[in-house]
Amino acid sequence: MANYMKCVDGVHIEMSDEEHAARVAEEKVWSDEAPVRSFKGLRSERNEKLVETDFYANSDVTMSDEMKAYRKALRDLPATLNNTTVLQTITWPEKP
């Protein structure tokens, strides 16, 4: 099988064996780390959604049961996923 191609200043040329091997290794690392990367991104996005509703937790605001359930579902979401499902389209809890 031919090595990967690379495009240098408009010219497409085949990578050397060394370059090809380095690229293949890099792609493997990327693939292996996909679940970790996705969980990290998921938690980051989840935290932003929690921040959006943080003000309901203020002492002078009464948080509805629906909002409590929504925020709990957000916190629990990572635990409902595994290394395969985290790579798929995420079904987020519906904000009340």
């Binding site: 990967y4 191609m5 200043d9 408009g10 690229r23 980051s44 996005e45």
Partner: protein, 328 residues
């Protein structure tokens, strides 16, 4: 003009009589056959047939009849003198207008042009760098070939990428540019759910730095931000939360479009880039993403090449056009 005829002095008198009985007659001056007329017994002789002249001697084909003064010669001019033009003796007035053709000019160097030096003498202006223009340096100075676009954006090249694992730009030129703008049009990955990366080289593209602490970056998108203070690359797009926000390769997802600026890569400093890139996420139902970001090397170096690649798989297609910010 190497030779010309001169010295046709009129002789006065040029007539001489001779006694007959011979076929040779000596004139008082050198002459030529056609410049000398000869009569024998009153009959005109034909030059070149009946007689010839060499030097001052007339030789007839047949001996003239004996008698006193039976032969008469008339010599109008002395022999013409063939001479050469003295060096540097042809004056401007001797040359017709429009008479000097290009072929008559001395050969020069391909691409040079003619100007004049301080003494008013013609000089050759050396051929400039490809793409440069002839630039006046004002009165009293010869023009030069130079970039005419100080501080302007100058097109460098454009590349249609097709199934290449990486894109590289190595045509940096510190003598010409202070920075570079890379304009990306629909850079589509072969593999779904990937990120776009940017790396730099300090050896003209022989290798690209990808150590775990070679770069830091910070990007904003759809109201959030991601960053990494020690990474193997500058993340351009795709790191915007969960997997669906990565770059997709499906139909109508159209890849990544936008621009990247590379600032002063030739300076031995932490080369910095800024970028403004748009993409449609890999999964349906997610909003379009516009990434505004900044990235930097974490070591000072003279950067002379850049690389763009996806985190996995090749670039399926797309166009990248590069402009240089001409040195101010």
């Amino acid at each position: 003009m190497s030779q010309y005829l001169t010295g046709l002095n009129l002789l006065d008198p040029g007539v001489k009589r001779y006694n007959g009985g011979t076929s040779t007659f000596t004139m008082d001056n050198n002459g030529t056959t056609n410049g000398t007329l000869l009569w024998v017994s009153g009959v005109a002789q034909i030059p070149g047939t009946d007689y010839n002249v060499s030097g001052a001697t007339i030789t007839t084909t047949t001996a003239a009849p004996a008698g006193t003064n039976t032969v008469v010669s008339l010599q109008l001019f002395e022999t013409g003198i063939v001479n050469t033009v003295a060096s540097n003796a042809v004056t401007t007035a001797k040359i017709n207008d429009d008479a000097v053709t290009l072929a008559k000019m001395a050969s020069g160097t391909d691409g040079n042009i003619i100007s004049y030096d301080a003494s008013g003498n013609p000089v050759a202006i050396a051929t400039g760098t490809s793409g440069h223009f002839l630039k006046s340096q004002g009165a009293g100075a010869q023009p030069v070939f130079a970039a005419d676009n100080k501080g302007a954006m100058t097109f460098i090249n454009t590349t249609d990428i097709s199934s290449a694992a990486t894109y590289a730009f190595t045509a940096t030129a510190a003598a010409s540019y202070d920075g570079y703008g890379l304009f990306l049009q629909n850079i589509i990955p072969v593999t779904d759910d990937v990120r776009m990366w940017f790396r730099t080289s300090t050896d003209s593209g022989s290798s690209y730095d990808d150590g775990a602490s070679d770069y830091d970056w910070n990007t904003h998108n759809y109201g959030s931000y991601q960053n990494d203070v020690a990474d193997n690359q500058i993340e351009l797009v795709g790191d915007a939360g969960s997997s669906p926000y990565q770059v997709g390769s499906d139909t109508n997802e159209n890849g990544v479009s936008g621009w990247i600026w590379v600032w002063g890569p030739h300076l031995t400093a932490y080369t910095m880039i800024t970028y403004h890139l748009a993409m449609r996420p890999a999964h349906a139902g997610y909003p379009l993403i516009l990434n505004d970001g900044v990235g930097s090397r974490l070591s000072a170096a003279d950067v002379d090449a850049f690389q763009i690649l996806f985190s996995s798989g090749s670039i399926e297609s797309g166009t990248i056009t590069v402009y240089g910010l001409a040195n101010a």
